[in-house]
Symmetry: C2
Subunit: 280 residues, 2 copies
Amino acid sequence: MRPDTLGVIGLGAVGGSVAWQATAAGIPRVLGFTRRPVEGVAAVRAGAVTELATSARSVLRRADLVVLAAPPAATLRLLDTAARDLPSGAFCTDVTGVQAAVLNRARAVGLGDRFAASHPLVEVPGTGFAAAAPDRFTNAVVYVSPDGDDDATAREVADFWERVLGAHPVVVDADTHDALIAWTEHLPQTVGAALAHALAVQGPRGLTYPAATRRAVGPTVGTTEVWRDLLLLNRARVLDALEGLETSIGALRRALREGDAGALEAWLEAGARWRREASR
Amino acid sequence: MRPDTLGVIGLGAVGGSVAWQATAAGIPRVLGFTRRPVEGVAAVRAGAVTELATSARSVLRRADLVVLAAPPAATLRLLDTAARDLPSGAFCTDVTGVQAAVLNRARAVGLGDRFAASHPLVEVPGTGFAAAAPDRFTNAVVYVSPDGDDDATAREVADFWERVLGAHPVVVDADTHDALIAWTEHLPQTVGAALAHALAVQGPRGLTYPAATRRAVGPTVGTTEVWRDLLLLNRARVLDALEGLETSIGALRRALREGDAGALEAWLEAGARWRREASR
């Protein structure tokens, strides 16, 4: 769908980019709402919204399509408001990144047939509207998950990402998505965090760490609160992936303990092969 | 010391850089030896050595200082040759990066009083002489470890790194160094390798992984064989650090399993604080 009136709730790095790119694409009315006045002012100044709304409800009541782009916990709460205030015939999506939990909540509050979950695979260089960009979604993969088998809403939402924002939507069922993302996004983030935690709690002190250490820990992506909520929303899948990681670490420890050069080399080679294939 | 004749055995990314930077610094004779003719030709063409020797022994017999810059296993074997062929009054060091194991071997073969272990903290952009550079060690930290308390040789070697190659040598006992490096170099490398192993063996298949996944796995640094040998040479320390990592992962799994948002947030925050401090 190409909405006449798009609503965006939350004007940070992701929501601000949705609004901005839609405005740039010529959507006639782009209504934005944020609880943080400073972000709203920045979005208006950039021309990212055509109107700054004074409440989430006023956005929900007037838009053909609403993108919820608040942090995870706030997005879940907004689903309640959306269920009450979004007119029938209008659609709603989000950018949380954990599909099953969001879809379950949408269904529970009676928004199911008007809602599909979206997960744009974009990296943002910081937080807040200052990290928004009017071309953020061009050629980005966006996973869109329907509520169960009824994918008419998912198709409308996917069409919005593609036609208006120039993204490549991939419609995928929520369970497949959440398992995938546990391995490719939550596990990698968690591994870096575990290394940082181990270094913080048990590592050597008072040291300038080499670049290799900092690189392995990874950059700070998102806030502690957002990661806490994402990991909890996907916790069964994340626990599965962590168990997989511990199996791999266990095999390494066994090879090292036994001084088994052949097993150690095979273990390293499996990872090196993955690296080579993933970087192609 | 500023040698009149420097010997470098192994002319790859690190050894080639040692020779090249020493030649550029005006050391009159820089003798290089490599088992790989193609590297030798490249080093001669670049002017990185003043003479290409035909054997490791002929380098050892004629130099005031010899830097062993072969892969770990080959370096350990070269210590035997060095013990026989290095004249008394000459010195020897290496660039392996695990100090206790190398020093123990040097002592066992009777090279102890002529040898100190070196670990230059440099990142090389590849393998072979093609990845060498004539300014590789300028301002680099180089850990130098003496054999026991007798640090006269370590001081000579440290002085070479500083005066000839412009590095910042830090003399540190081998055990302290090896524990430090287990946490800051071997554990980070191992964590990335464990993630790659888990993704290879248990992860979802047939997928273009997002940039965040590839970043967490990390770049390919060195060969499988080199890492196999480094981890085995430092295995007691690496096993300690891995146990520390597993303790941290265990705490995360507990918080997730129990859905304990407070514990999860505290866990993430400890790592986030480390990240902020390490990036200052």
